[in-house]
């Protein structure tokens, strides 16, 4: 006889599905952020399961900074089409007009304009009152105290001192007009859980996660892949071919690659189990200062 004991992945899956359903029940116009990364892919699978055999009752939103890896965009289009989802792409046109790049404005300013501001524009433009994000509490210290339903004022700002207590599985989604919430169905997942889930579910992921020889440059102790000509070379710099892969994905000039030979899911999981560094190491934006994520989140970053 079955004991109905859930494994940790089944329990996390059930929790994520319940969170997604709860938002659809409590909010009028939700949207799911889709960044094409592994977390987004796992979160999207939970959403598909939550409403099966029906379709998703909300669209996906991709905030395109215009410096994403080319492969991400082609993978995105193919993946979304094959699953039959509706995708909205948003680019901060003011930013594009001003000609801002990570090279001429610095990473902080660039991220603020093309990610944080762009996201806020998109949410306001469509009037979304709830936005799902794939962030996990294990990613970074300030995330560890983030609620599952994270309340934002009408300026999309987060106040870490004024969060609603969250008990049991009872979520308070009451908001005044113009206010919204960010929702994190993967709050209790770790990087390892996400990979294990993708492995269990056999979900296709973007091949950038798997090692292969790619043209990279060494900058500030990280390997950066030169995905196109927009990235100026310093004097004496020549891209070299190295077997690398990415643990996280974002804007290519801001995303560090790791040297690796892990070329499939099994090998990636094994590498991670033996790894001694966290995935955020590959992210340039967190490095600026201790507490930088907290500052960005207060301003409206995911």
């Amino acid at each position: 006889m079955s004991t109905f004991q859930l494994t940790h992945l089944e329990e996390l899956e059930a929790e994520g599905i319940a969170i997604i359903r709860e938002v659809v029940a409590q909010f009028e116009k939700p949207v799911m952020l889709f960044s094409i990364g592994k977390d987004s892919i796992a979160m999207l699978r939970l959403a598909e399961k939550a409403f099966a055999p029906g379709k998703l009752p909300f669209p996906l939103l991709h905030v395109n900074t215009t410096f994403k890896f080319k492969e991400m965009i082609s993978f995105r289009d193919e993946f979304v089409k094959s699953r039959g989802h509706q995708l909205i792409e948003w680019i901060n046109q003011d930013g594009v007009k001003s000609g801002i790049t990570p090279f001429n404005a610095g990473t902080q300013r660039y991220t603020h304009v093309m990610k944080t501001e762009a996201l806020k524009q998109a949410l306001s433009h469509y009037g979304f009152d709830a936005a799902f994000g794939g962030a996990r509490r294990d990613e970074e210290k300030s995330r560890a105290k983030e609620r599952v339903f994270s309340f934002r004022d009408r300026f999309h700002q987060w106040d870490p001192k004024n969060q609603r207590p969250e008990l049991w599985n009872l979520y308070n989604g009451q908001v005044a007009k113009g206010e919204s919430i960010r929702v994190f169905p993967l709050s209790n997942w770790t990087e390892l859980d996400v990979w294990l889930y993708i492995y269990r579910e056999q979900i296709p992921v973007i091949p950038l996660y798997f090692a292969k020889p790619r043209p990279v440059l060494q900058r500030n102790g990280t390997w950066i892949m030169r995905d196109d000509e927009r990235m100026p070379l310093e004097p004496g710099e020549t891209p070299e071919l190295r077997s690398v892969r990415f643990r996280t994905l974002g804007c290519y000039p801001l995303t560090g690659a790791v040297e690796s030979t892990a070329s499939n899911l099994r090998e990636v999981i094994e590498e991670m189990l033996r790894s001694r560094t966290s995935e955020r190491q590959g992210r340039v934006i967190d490095y600026d200062e201790a507490g930088s994520m907290e500052q960005k989140k207060k301003e409206g970053y995911f």
Binding site: S2, L9, K49, A144, P160, W168, N169, E270, L273, S278
Partner: protein, 646 residues
């Protein structure tokens, strides 16, 4: 590094295979800033390889800046998330941490030990399976230890580890440890925590945390991590009481109507009969989807969608249960509440309640008392302030399908939301009320409801109505054991009267329990209430000229006397359907008595509650020996003799 060792041993395929069986354990840690709690968690994370090298590097940088440990790495800094808190050197919120070992995955909710932060601890405790309460060996049991244990008990945590930390600072003394264990025993005995475990340790030195201590040979038990990996939690799940709070109704197309939600408890199988609350409508389960895939059955904690064999009205906030195992529907509940907001709770205020998936307006009608968490004594209170715990009475605009929290941690819990600020202001746990309390409550409510009514305001008198219809109204009250033939007699009589031009109405358990009494169960109190309603209804119908044929077990003389008083002496005819219990049992084709004999249903008259036969009924019928027709004839004779029938 545990994963590395495991990988070397079993290889990646073996590892991937074993993760399939890995369970999740949610842990709460409680203790004050100085007990070394953050150090303990940092140690668990580090020694089980939950901390990465780059995080360690940041940690080393932070230690020189904010640390309090000098040269050694301050693991506490790993836990304190927000910058402002880090600078103050205190944790002021709940922080969640994750680590896993080859056997289990752990979620750690870290909550502060300051007196004013009961709120955070309750938050962390609400989702935890197990709590670690830290005690500084030098200080022993403090008021906060009692407070932590009380909150764990209140929030229904079944497993507690008392971690006696800083043993290195008391020379690893067994005597110190035993004294603490004894002192804890004194107050733990007054709480309801079934499983308590004591471990002496030094988190700073890593002794008895992950590895066994070499310095305390007198301690024979397992180190903390071993215990966390093996503590048995599967038995905590409730697979008996089916409770599926409906979260969403999914209608992707016209042919599919699914009810989605997470099974709070119990098991649901294809073909099962269910009842939807509050409507009381029944149906059979057609399909069960677990996490989107069709299955034959589902168990506690699973995210399911079900379809039913017929269209019944079910919406978000309803509860799906079993017809013979459903929670009572209550408009008023008693609860313990932890207050979480600066704006105090004052009785009389209205809030929104979120219980399971139901959201509805509620009023806090009474604050019975508040509890001093240090002494566990209750005291009178006019209001409840932030971080205080008290017992309240709530009245809800919608009926609550309310299980006591001690029986069901999901359906027995609720939060209160302030209607203006939208803040979550309270966390509540529904109490198990005795039937007596429920009855007092009901009486109080019916009394309150009656105070602004003036009787006899109608312009048409009962006599005028009776004259217009041309019949004399009366209530024929048939009493007797279940299956003694009351309802059959009533229906036969109804037919005969109809033939003679008399309009009559049959009232029996069957007809009332579907509607008027659908909120009542079968406790002694509920059955008395059921009879009271029947009598009130009979009175109204009589007042409107209708003849009432009421068939109710009404097992006590007192109930029948009350019914007589309600309907009115002159209109009330008591007929005793007298049949021996054995006859009634032998007639029963529904298995009703058989189930009562097996103890599956309680409060069955004749089996486990007594039937008081009427001493002087208007008429006694032998419903075992005489035929139905003969008994109908005897009633007709009675009616004629009373001039109630021509």
């Amino acid at each position: 590094m545990l994963h590395g060792e495991e990988l070397d041993r079993v290889g990646i395929d073996g590892w991937l295979e074993s993760y399939q069986r890995k369970e999740l354990l949610r842990i709460l840690t409680c203790g004050s800033v100085d007990d070394g709690k953050s150090t303990l968690i940092g140690r668990l994370l580090h020694d089980s390889a939950g901390v990465f090298e780059d995080q360690l590097k940041t940690l080393k940088k932070d230690t020189t800046r904010y640390g309090t440990t000098g040269e050694e790495i301050d693991f506490a800094l790993l836990m304190d998330g927000l910058q402002a808190e880090r600078e103050q050197g205190i944790t002021i919120d709940v922080a969640y941490r994750y680590f896993s070992t080859p056997r289990r995955k752990f979620i750690v909710a870290d909550t502060p030990g300051h007196e004013q932060y009961t709120r955070n601890m309750a938050t962390g405790a609400s989702t935890s399976d197990l709590a670690i309460i830290l005690i500084d060996a030098r200080k022993g049991v403090l008021a906060q230890t009692r407070r932590h244990a009380f909150i764990c008990s209140l929030l229904g945590i079944k497993h507690v580890v008392i971690a006696v930390n800083k043993m290195d600072l008391v020379e690893y003394s067994q005597e110190v440890f035993e004294t603490i264990r004894r002192e804890c025993g004194e107050f733990l005995g007054r709480l309801s925590i079934p499983d308590v475990h004591f471990i002496p340790m030094s988190a700073r030195r890593g002794e008895n945390v992950v590895g066994r201590s070499q310095t305390m040979p007198w301690y024979q038990g397992a180190p903390l991590l071993d215990y966390l990996e093996t503590v048995h939690i599967a038995g905590d799940r409730n697979t008996i009481d089916l409770r599926l709070p409906v979260q969403l109704v999914l209608r992707p197309n016209l042919d599919f109507r699914g009810f989605a939600g997470t099974l709070a408890s119990g098991v649901l199988r294809k073909g099962d009969e269910i009842v939807a609350l509050p409507s009381g409508r029944r149906a059979f389960v057609k399909q069960v989807f677990v996490s989107g895939a069709e299955r034959d059955e589902a168990g506690p904690g699973m995210a399911v969608t079900i379809t039913l064999d017929r269209e019944i009205d079910i919406s978000r906030g309803d509860l799906i249960a079993r017809p013979n195992n459903a929670p009572p529907l209550e408009h008023a509940v008693e609860a313990m509440v932890v207050w979480m907001n600066e704006a105090t709770l004052v009785p009389g205020r209205q809030y929104l309640i979120v219980q399971s998936t139901l959201m509805a307006p509620v009023a806090v009608t009474d604050l019975r008392y508040k509890i001093d968490v240090n002494t566990l004594k209750s005291e009178d209170a006019a209001q409840l302030s932030l971080n205080e715990i008290g017992r309240i009475r709530l009245e809800c605009a919608k009926p609550l399908a309310a299980d006591p929290y001690t029986k069901n941690r999901h359906t027995g819990a609720f939060i209160l939301i302030d209607r203006l600020s939208n803040a979550t202001v309270g966390a509540g746990m529904i109490l198990d009320r005795t039937p007596a309390e429920q009855a007092i409550d009901r009486e109080r409510r019916s009394r309150d409801a009656g105070t602004n009514l003036t009787p006899g305001a109608g312009k048409v008198s009962p006599e005028q109505r009776a004259a217009r219809i041309g019949q004399r109204p009366f209530t024929l009250w048939l009493t007797g054991l279940p299956r003694s033939g009351k309802s059959s007699l009533a229906h036969a009589l109804e037919h005969v009267l109809f033939e003679r031009g008399v309009q009559s109405v049959v009232l029996d358990g069957e007809s009332l329990r579907k509607g008027l009494s659908s909120d009542l169960g079968f406790s002694v109190r509920d059955r008395a209430e059921h009879v009271r309603r029947a009598a009130e209804l009979a009175k109204l119908l009589n007042d409107h000229g209708q003849v009432v044929l009421a068939a109710f077990v009404s097992p006590t003389a007192e109930q029948r006397a009350r019914a007589r008083a309600t309907v009115g002496e002159e209109r009330f005819l008591e007929v005793f359907c007298d049949a021996p219990l054995a006859t009634c049992e032998s007639r029963d084709t529904t298995g009703f008595y058989a189930r009562a004999r097996k103890g599956e249903i309680a409060n069955v008259t004749g089996v486990d509650t007594q039937y008081e036969a009427p001493a002087a009924p208007t008429l006694r019928l032998d419903t075992a020996g005489q035929s139905l027709e003969a008994n109908v004839e005897r009633i007709l004779e009675l009616l004629k003799s009373r001039m109630l029938l021509h």
